[in-house]
């Protein structure tokens, strides 16, 4: 059987994969840092443009069997691809000063990043469970190496934790997919939808419920949902900070996209709904409560991103209620998940960019106490950081975050999940407590030198004070902040994007 392949649909994936290959070759042949960086950045931009171009030519699909396709290049796939490419570009910008210290090999770093981007680009278009899992692994595998690149004990520990947990998660998802195939005989998302729509009897088979739950739970690892979250704080804190930024934005985006792909139409909502509702409640509550007690910056951001994952999957939990399974309500829910994810990714990236800007090139996130008065020394970075944190807390002036919260609560209430909306709302209050703690620390006056705590003294001593922030980091932070402000005043831009 011959197949015609739609190369236009595959354009973003070609560009992303081509970037990875080209980076490898450039590093091999030219072995110049600047050339490698330039190639990676150009590749990321090209992938973004390619995704936009592919989207303009309308929805396409390829690698089709009789009634279903493995590769669906629709508007959402383009949005996801563009987001991955832009995040890759942003993380590359954040890594500028780090790579200049030559502690991390530039070629390997860029190659792994480009590989991960390729996984993300394909993930958005995945039309069957196998493509989905392979793409997700292509996204995740390079990250093990990226996390461990720094060759310190913390880094190795982080990489190992991440590796072990992730492999287990993948195994769980694969097992679920295999069982699902055993029950239904289908791997394509669309075929699964048809199978479940026809055979209501299937749901009475206990194995079906187990299979569906395993797939969902395995994917829940990727978004770091409680109780599958324990890897996140250790991994984020041990990884180089740009990589932590990538983990908490792009990697989480990948998990969300995968969860959306399987829950939107394919898997029976009567199983996924309750599972995800429970996960969402646990995730946001535990994430927020534990974040309250964190003393290290990156760990706090990690726990807060766990909590944010709870808000992201909460609308999917609304599938528990029958009212939300009709088509318009599903649209609302899916749009809400995507919109929240986009708002979240922008603000989380800005927050990490600000942390990178405030710290020396090769440092980790440090303790929160070390940020005392940082916004007084760097008013612009401080202001951007505060805007990002307040946005994550969901309050004005972080209007982007406010509207993100509004989107989720609106979708939940439209789906009839009133109590879940109340849980989200109450969690927002807990969240503000620790975001404000950082904000207050940033603007706190410096203590008198004699009473200064040790880490504070270390931070402010001339040797540790940064002369100036790398221009790439500043540019990335500025860009993320501008985007956050723009989508804060014009949230409809994002809502239009995710509605496609």
């Amino acid at each position: 059987m011959t197949q015609s392949v739609d190369h236009v649909a595959l354009l973003p994936a070609y560009l992303a994969a081509g970037t990875a290959v080209l980076v490898l070759l450039t590093d091999l042949l030219l072995a110049r840092r600047s050339a490698v960086l330039l190639v990676t950045a150009t590749g990321a931009v090209a992938t973004t443009v390619g995704a936009a171009a592919a989207a303009r030519s309308g929805p396409r699909q390829t690698f089709c069997v009789q009634d279903a396709c493995s590769y669906l290049a629709n508007g959402r796939a383009a949005l996801v691809a563009a987001l991955f490419a832009l995040l890759t570009l942003g993380v590359l910008a954040l890594s500028g000063p780090l790579l200049r210290t030559t502690q991390i090999p530039t070629g390997e770093f860029c190659f792994l990043l480009a590989c991960s981007m390729t996984g993300g680009v394909v993930l958005g278009a995945a039309g069957d469970l196998i493509t989905l899992i392979v793409a997700l692994e292509a996204l995740t595998l390079p990250l093990f190496a990226l996390v461990g690149l720094r060759r310190s004990v913390a880094s190795a520990e982080a990489a190992l934790t991440f590796f072990v947990v992730s492999v287990v998660a993948t195994a769980v998802t694969l097992l679920g997919a295999a069982l699902l195939y055993a029950v239904t005989g289908a791997v394509h998302l669309r075929s699964l939808e048809a199978v479940f729509a026809d055979g209501a009897g299937l749901l009475k088979v206990p194995l079906t419920a187990v299979a569906v739950a395993l797939v969902v739970l395995g994917l829940a690892f990727k978004v770091a949902a409680v109780p599958f979250h324990v890897w996140a704080p250790t991994t984020y804190d041990g990884a180089p900070m740009p990589v932590a930024a990538y983990l908490s934005t792009a990697s989480k985006l990948g998990g969300v996209v995968a969860l959306l792909a399987v829950t939107e139409f394919s898997l029976p909502a009567s199983v996924t709904g309750p599972v995800l509702a429970v996960l969402a409640v646990l995730t946001m509550t535990v994430g927020n409560l534990v974040a309250l007690r964190q003393r290290r910056m990156v760990r706090l951001l990690a726990w807060s991103s766990v909590a944010q994952a709870g808000y992201i999957i909460a609308p999917l939990g609304a599938f528990m209620w029958g009212a939300s399974r009709e088509l318009p309500a599903v649209r609302t829910v899916v749009a809400a998940v995507l919109a929240y994810t986009v708002f979240y990714v922008v603000m989380e990236f800005a927050a990490f960019a600000a942390v990178v800007a405030l710290r020396p090139p090769n440092a980790d996130g440090g303790s929160i106490a070390a940020y005392r008065g940082a916004a007084r020394r760097h008013p612009w970075i401080g202001a951007a950081f505060v805007l990002a944190l307040v946005g994550l807390a969901g309050l004005p002036p972080g209007l982007a975050g406010l509207f993100a919260k509004v989107v989720v609560v609106r979708a939940l209430l439209a789906g009839g999940a009133g109590w879940l909306a109340v849980v989200v709302a109450l969690n927002a209050v807990i969240g503000l407590a620790y975001y404000l703690r950082i904000v207050a620390k940033l603007y706190a006056p410096m203590p008198a030198p004699d009473r200064a705590a040790e880490p504070v003294a270390a931070m402010t001593s001339p040797a540790h004070r940064q002369a100036r922030v790398g221009w790439t980091v500043a540019a990335a932070l500025a860009a993320a902040t501008v985007v956050a402000i723009v989508i804060g005043f014009a949230p409809q831009l994002i809502l239009d994007l995710v509605a496609v």
């Binding site: 209050v429 407590a433 809502l495």
Partner: protein
């Protein structure tokens, strides 16, 4: 675009632009920046004066069922984010106009006061910029005719007020500020859930469309909001506004916030911020969920009376000046909430004038308490005394404000409290009569604690702290306080100034309540 529409947008744009400009001016131009800020607040005040246009509609326009209960004098409706049911829909009518005016006036006075004295803690221009942002949020809340927009503006106020308390506040400022922001955020997230409960049920976020007298034909057509949803929505909204107002037992953030906030912060907080809660209760909660309001009114009334009694009793035992005034706010807002809970025209009118009176009088009281604390460096009643001897004019003003606050007929405080009680009696059932009696007893307690305050602070021989203080009033103080003194008198003598504009909209609002 009509003049009124331009005015509405300018009323929000002027303070917003002012805030950015004032914050952007360099450090060494601090005084200039503050003066610029005062200029912007003055312009905003003038704009709010120009908004007055009740002649547009005769009261008969309100009559008839099925008509919208909100007939704005001016209205502007622009799309913002239709995907979120968010429209930039502003309007002003008789219910909101007095509060808009109070907001612009108090912000102007506070900024002018800052020109003269900046509290310790941070640069004055940032304080002025934050006051301007708070003004935008409060005005937006009062002007919004879209539920989601109302929520957005409701939230705008939170963090700037947090910063005002946390940066320029007293010794315990951090804790107080955190408590304030977490408590009030709790209120506003419940508001968010309540708002979208209504929007999901009704399919629109337009307040003008949502608030309307029941009309068989219209309701048969669009179904209205089912009773159970109305009850749920009202409970959520009422909780949200009860935190803000604050209603006992959700009031515990208020005394700390007031005690620690700088003078101007306290004035804004007591003067207009609390009114967002009571205004929201009238316009949004009662407006969009009248059946829910009817259902929950007895509970609301009971809690309001509890607030009156508890607030008064706590005041009787208070030892700190600002804390006492803060608790007196709890008691006064109890009267306002009692008025609303009666769901009668008299009651809601009483609530609206009580709002204004409390804003003016308590604003004045906090200015005076701030002045006393600045001069004597203490707020403890035990260390104050004999103010009449060393600072006769300050003592006189304090006496005037305290007597106005306890509701002496002829001053502004009288109308709201007296008629809240009258409204409770008008409802007629034994339950409401009992509430009325208890509220009246609370009123008597109010007199008791204010007289105790006066006895402790103004009478007797000067305490060491008072004797040390510099007597006399600065020109800036006289200038900022005299409008408040004047308004207390004028509204006390001619309450129709407020009641005249609120009369028609209140009556048409109540046509919707079963």
């Amino acid at each position: 675009m009509s003049v009124g529409q331009v005015l509405l947008i300018a009323l929000l744009a002027v303070p917003a632009v002012g805030a950015v400009l004032v914050a952007a001016l360099p450090k060494r131009r601090d005084r200039v920046a503050r003066a610029v800020g005062v200029g912007f607040t003055a312009v905003a005040f003038l704009l709010s004066l120009l908004l007055y246009a009740p002649a547009n509609i005769g009261w008969f326009a309100y009559s008839g069922t099925g008509r919208p209960a909100i007939m704005p004098w001016h209205e502007v409706n622009l799309p913002w984010a239709p995907g979120l049911d968010l429209h930039f829909h502003l309007g002003v009518d008789g219910i909101s106009y007095p509060l808009v005016l109070l907001t612009t006036l108090l912000t102007l006075l506070c900024c002018a006061y800052t020109l003269w004295r900046v509290p310790d803690g941070g640069p004055g221009r940032l304080l002025v910029a934050l006051l301007l942002v708070i003004e935008v949020g409060i005005l937006g809340t009062f002007l919004a005719l879209d539920l989601v927009l109302f929520f957005v503006f409701f939230e705008v106020v939170l963090l700037p007020m947090y910063a005002v308390i946390a940066v320029w506040g007293g010794a315990q400022r951090r804790r107080a500020a955190r408590k304030f922001v977490l408590y009030t955020l709790l209120g506003s997230v419940l508001l968010l859930v309540g708002v979208f409960t209504v929007v999901a049920a009704a399919g629109t976020s337009d307040l003008v469309a949502l608030v309307r007298a029941p009309d068989a034909a219209v309701f048969a057509l669009d179904g209205g909001i089912p009773r159970s949803t109305q009850v749920a929505a009202f409970i959520l909204l009422a909780l949200a506004f009860a935190v803000k107002s604050p209603l006992w037992p959700l009031h515990t953030w208020l005394p700390d916030a007031h005690t620690q906030a700088p003078t101007v912060g306290s004035v804004i907080l007591a003067g207009v911020l609390l009114k967002m809660g009571t205004y929201g209760l009238i316009r949004v909660a009662v407006g969009v969920a009248p059946e829910g309001a009817r259902f929950a009114a007895p509970v609301l009334g009971l809690l309001a009376v509890a607030a009156i009694i508890v607030g008064s009793l706590v005041c009787l035992a208070q030892t700190e000046l600002k804390r006492l005034i803060a608790y007196s706010s709890v008691s006064h807002m109890g009267f306002v909430l009692l008025g609303i809970a009666t769901l009668t025209a008299t009651g809601i009118q009483a609530a609206l004038i009580g709002n204004i009176a409390h804003g003016i009088i308590t604003g004045l009281l906090f200015f005076l308490a701030g002045a006393i604390k600045d001069r004597t460096r203490t707020g403890l009643l035990a260390q104050l005394g004999g103010l009449r001897e060393s600072m006769p004019r300050l003592a006189g003003l304090l006496g005037f404000a305290a007597i106005a606050s306890l509701g002496l007929p002829g001053l502004a405080g009288f109308w709201g409290e007296a008629f809240a009680v009258v409204a409770a009696f008008q409802v007629g059932s034994p339950f409401w009569i009992a509430l009325g009696v208890l509220a009246a007893i609370g009123g008597a307690l109010t007199a008791a604690y204010f007289l105790r305050l006066l006895r402790r602070v103004t009478h007797g021989s000067p305490s060491p702290a008072v004797a040390r203080a510099v007597p006399g009033l600065a020109g800036a103080e006289v200038a900022t306080w005299s409008p408040l003194v004047l308004l207390t008198l004028v509204i006390g003598l001619v309450p129709v100034l407020v009641l005249g504009v609120t009369d028609d909209p209140v009556r048409s609002l109540l046509e919707a309540v079963p």
